[in-house]
């Protein structure tokens, strides 16, 4: 054994190397790895770069390695250098080794030649003292002494190549692994290298040379290993190895026209020169043949090219069409808005129009203006409804109304329409909450419906589902569910109960357009749903949406909206303070449709960008702050499936708080407009006589929300100040 290990520099036994290759790019990420654990699939396949290789090299011997590209030559060297590790079999080396493949790998262009020498020497495993001792020899060999303090990047390619060669040759490796190293450097230096190799061999060093240059292999090596597709094809005499290689090349060249020339008749080649001539001859004839074929193919290609041009034109046309299609909605919105501006300026009742819009209009007034006919308006109205439907993903009937309150009125009165099958009649009962939106009482009254009030859930501060279910009586025909206090009830659950019990379900989402429950927009759960811009509903310039998933509603909506404009004259004497809309009817004017379209666009953009609003973040911050004082404040919590987008932030001040609700309001009003929830919400029972409504119990939590609920307008830019003033207030009141 000891004799063996002294005799052999390299012993390779049954060596094999397998790589795992990713089948697609970007394979090695943590995410993908975790993914493949879960799916149990591996996105890799195996590739044996080398297999069943065995050989021994004695000390002082030189082994050549030849083979086509990708035959595993470099892999073998990397394995010998112990940079890669074998999958099977083994490599035993005796002595110090270091490969040099890309000789410039460790070199830094910015550093000087000396620094590079020093760095490379360290990489080759030399110690500082060894390097200092060898430096003169290295410099003598490289002939680089005059350039010692030049930056390495400034050397010419030929000179630069000398640096690592010299180091490698002078660094006293026991085994040298050389990969195509003589492709650079001038003739004289190459000769010097070959001389140096021979010296090293004489000193008992071992060399492994990988090269494509047959002449170099022939001149240096007695023994050569020929690798073919990762397997050893021949090991032995260099001339025979080269002959094998050439024969393989020969077969490869002949393969395309094997039918023409019998490959079995290939002469047995002893002499490499004959082989070369043979290869060249057969290559030339093969090429001529191929040239003819290429001409034919070229003609084909030319014909195909013109066909492609036609197809390309067709595709282009289609693409343009598609583009037009996809842009249709947004461009429609824009153009219609522009028309709207002109129209509104022209029309006499442009009272609520904002100044910026008017300015815009005056800028555009140079353009020819389209006639503002009723036809125009109808077109605009229809287009706006279509935009809303596409953004909300709603396929049923949808009406744009004059305001949120109008939309509520439309929703309730359409259910009481005589034209609706199973519609409600006067005296029918509707379950709803005592706290409700402006306009609900009026809508119920005008249809003669009787409200039955149920209390709120103390967590969501929205309709208590259990009470609601208990409250369903003989006369009950519908549930009207308003989303209150920036929170909501379990809408899906309520919708289910209504369906089961055969009740109409009306969903009023007038604060929080764009909020979703379980991925669906609020307003889409009810048989009829309303949506509106929220707190702005108190201002004159506003709008509302009424949508339904019942197709018959399409005509009923149209009926009611059309007839509402005539109601005003008839009902003048009955009007009270709720009847602001009644005088004007439900039909929105041009400017309000336009306002709604603006929201529509904002909404569609925020859906596309998946942009969490600043308001939501500001609200969260407030909620966090308030939850720090659980004895004083209570923030309504919507069910987990809900993502509410209220435009105000609501919370309750508990009775145990050491300050009055007025204190808090003053503190908040000091910095921001807004205030008590009473601004948007009404106490519904007060609008009815005791005989005209039914309260299910004492409505404890409803009273609580009405009495002690605070709503702050959610404006992200004011978010900090809201928090500030709350903090200040809490700080002031804390000592009590």
């Amino acid at each position: 054994m000891t004799k063996d290990s002294e005799e052999f520099a390299i012993r390779v036994h049954n060596l094999g190397k397998r790589f795992l290759i990713g089948t697609k790019k970007g394979k090695d990420s943590v995410l993908n790895t975790v993914g493949s654990w879960i799916t149990g699939r591996s996105p890799r396949r195996e590739l044996w770069a080398l297999r069943d290789v065995s050989f021994d090299v004695r000390k002082g011997e030189i082994l050549g390695i030849i083979g086509a590209n990708g035959a595993g030559k470099s892999t073998l060297l990397l394995l010998l250098a112990q940079i890669l590790f074998p999958t099977e079999g083994g490599v035993h080396l005796s002595g110090r080794t270091n490969p040099f493949f890309q000789l410039s790998a460790g070199l830094q262009a910015e550093l000087t030649v000396l620094e590079n020498f020093s760095f490379c020497a360290a990489l080759l495993g030399l110690s500082k003292s060894e390097f200092n001792r060898r430096l003169p020899e290295i410099l003598a060999f490289s002939e680089l002494e005059p350039y010692l303090y030049a930056r390495y990047g400034e050397l010419s390619t030929g000179l630069a190549a000398r640096l690592p060669f010299s180091l490698a040759i002078q660094s006293e490796q026991d085994i040298l692994l050389v990969d195509e190293m003589l492709s650079v450097g001038d003739q004289a230096f190459q000769a010097k290298c070959i001389g140096a190799f021979k010296d090293l061999l004489n000193k008992g060093k071992t060399l492994i040379v990988v090269s494509h240059s047959m002449s170099l292999i022939k001149s240096l090596c007695a023994t050569t290993l020929y690798l073919r597709n990762g397997r050893p094809a021949f090991l032995g005499n260099t001339d025979e190895a080269i002959a094998e290689l050439l024969q393989d090349l020969d077969v490869n060249v002949r393969a395309p026209d094997a039918a023409g020339a019998p490959s079995g008749s290939a002469p047995f080649i002893r002499d490499a020169q004959t082989a070369f001539i043979h290869i060249i001859q057969s290559t030339v004839s093969a090429l001529e043949e191929q040239g003819k074929r290429i001409d034919v193919v070229n003609d084909d290609l030319r014909a195909q090219k013109s066909e492609f041009a036609v197809i390309r034109d067709i595709l282009k046309e289609q693409r343009a069409k598609n583009l037009a299609e996809t842009n249709k909605i947004s461009s429609a919105i824009e153009s219609l808005q522009a028309t709207a501006n002109r129209f509104t300026v022209k029309s006499r009742d442009m009272g609520q129009f904002s100044r910026t819009d008017r300015e815009k209009t005056s800028c555009e007034s140079a353009n020819p203006q389209p006639a503002s006919t009723l036809e125009d308006f109808n077109l605009f109205y229809a287009e706006a409804r279509r935009s809303w439907k596409s953004v909300l993903g709603h396929s049923g009937p949808l009406a744009i109304t004059k305001s949120s309150t109008s939309s509520i009125r439309l929703a309730i009165s359409s259910l009481a329409s005589p034209n609706l099958k199973k519609g409600m009649r006067a005296g029918d009962e509707v379950i709803t909450t005592a706290i409700n939106f402006d306009g609900v009482s009026q809508a119920l009254k005008s249809s003669g419906l009787v409200p039955a009030f149920v209390d709120l859930d103390p967590i969501t501060f929205n309709m208590d589902v259990r009470q609601m279910e208990k409250a369903i009586g003989e006369k009950t025909r519908a549930v009207v569910l308003p989303h209150l206090a920036g929170s909501c009830a379990p809408v899906d659950h309520i919708a289910e109960i209504c369906k089961k019990r055969g009740l109409w379900f009306v969903e009023l989402n007038d604060a929080g357009l764009g909020g979703t429950y379980d991925g669906r927009f609020f307003g889409a759960f009810g048989d009829i749903g309303t949506n509106g811009p929220g707190m702005d509903s108190t201002t004159a310039a506003s709008w509302g949406l009424t949508m339904s998933n019942q197709n018959p509603m399409e005509s009923i909506f149209a009926e009611i909206v059309r007839s509402s404009s005539h109601l005003s004259e008839r009902n003048d004497e009955r009007s009270n303070h709720y009847d602001l809309e009644r005088e004007e009817g439900l039909m929105p004017d041009w400017s309000r449709i336009e306002l709604s379209l603006r929201s529509c666009r904002t909404l569609s953009r925020s859906i596309a960008d998946l942009d969490p609003s600043n308001e939501a973040a500001a609200n969260e911050e407030l909620a966090r702050f308030l939850s720090g004082y659980p004895d004083w404040f209570l923030v309504p919590q919507p069910p987990k499936a809900a993502i509410t987008k209220p435009d105000y932030f609501a919370f309750l001040v508990k009775d145990s708080a050491p300050f009055s609700i007025e204190d808090l309001q003053r503190a908040l009003l000091f910095t921001t407009p807004g205030g008590c929830l009473r601004i948007v919400l009404r106490w519904l029972p007060s609008a009815f006589n005791d005989d005209d409504c039914r309260a299910f119990n004492d409505l404890k939590h409803s009273h609580l929300l009405m009495r002690r609920g605070i709503g702050i307008q959610a404006r992200s830019d004011l978010g900090d100040r809201r928090l500030d003033s709350l903090e200040k207030l809490v700080g002031l009141l804390k000592p009590k």
């Binding site: 790589f19 943590v30 002595g95 270091n98 040099f100 910015e110 360290a122 990489l123 080759l124 495993g125």
Partner: protein, 258 residues
């Protein structure tokens, strides 16, 4: 095979560190000044933001913040340099046979050298901020060595993962961002209460930074039990890191070279 005693790669380690350092800052004064800019700016911003508030909790908030930032900066830069080191040095790994951990060591050390220079420059500022030399400063070298060893251990693991997974850099960016806020760099631990405080104190970095501040500002000796725990942990992590890297060498050699 000729066995060499000890660690025969000091020369390589030194050379590689030097090359890394020179190349990163281009070896120029200006390059170095640029690296000073970031901690200085952070200091100014955080100081102005928090002196009113956190100044109530910490007596010498300026010095407190500066020490925290410099040490954090070292941790953050060194781990991210260490993380990418094996990947950056693929060509060296492909062409030379040497212990791979040296690549990671030198990446961290090169950052360490520039951090030391930073500290030297910032020392006069500490004096301006009211810090006076005291005997407890003798502990500083030990603390620095512990920090260095800790950072290297972290970098060893990161480098191996980064060689295997290309999204490691992103992940670590996110983690360090979170760590910045989870380590008392610009706030004192005292403002956090209860179990959160106990949780944050488990971070070795927290203990190292707090020890450094205790020595530098207050002239106190490091807290013995916590420090011993950190030393123990760091030693384990360091040995584990080297072992892990060597164990994984086969794997990442394939991924890097193939």
């Amino acid at each position: 095979m000729n066995k060499q005693t000890g660690f025969p790669y000091w020369y390589l380690l030194g050379e590689m560190t030097r090359v890394e350092f020179k190349l990163r800052d281009q070896g120029t004064l200006f390059g170095f000044l640029w690296t000073l800019l970031q901690p200085t700016l952070m200091f100014v911003v955080l100081y102005m933001l928090f002196i009113k508030w956190l100044g109530h909790f910490v007596s010498q908030y300026g010095a407190y913040l500066l020490i925290g930032l410099v040490l954090w900066n070292f941790f953050q830069k060194a781990t991210s340099m260490g993380l990418s080191s094996l990947k950056r040095r693929t060509s060296l790994i492909r062409n030379y046979r040497f212990p791979r951990e040296i690549v990671v060591f030198s990446a961290v050390l090169s950052v360490f050298v520039s951090s030391l220079l930073e500290m030297l420059i910032l020392l006069p500022f500490l004096f301006l901020l009211g810090v006076r030399p005291n005997l407890a400063w003798l502990w500083i070298p030990l603390i620095v060595v512990i920090l260095l060893a800790f950072v290297i251990s972290v970098a060893l693991f990161l480098a191996v993962f980064a060689a295997e997974f290309h999204d490691m850099e992103r992940i670590w960016e996110v983690v360090t961002t979170a760590l910045f806020y989870l380590t008392p760099i610009f706030y004192p631990l005292t403002i956090v209460g209860g179990w959160k405080r106990r949780l944050l104190s488990l971070n070795p970095l927290t203990i190292i930074i707090m020890n450094a501040r205790a020595c530098l500002i207050d002239g106190l000796t490091p807290r013995p039990y916590a420090s011993l725990a950190v030393i123990f942990l760091t030693a384990i992590a360091f040995a584990g890191g080297v072992a892990f890297l060597r164990r994984c060498e086969h794997r990442f050699a394939d991924t890097l070279i193939a």
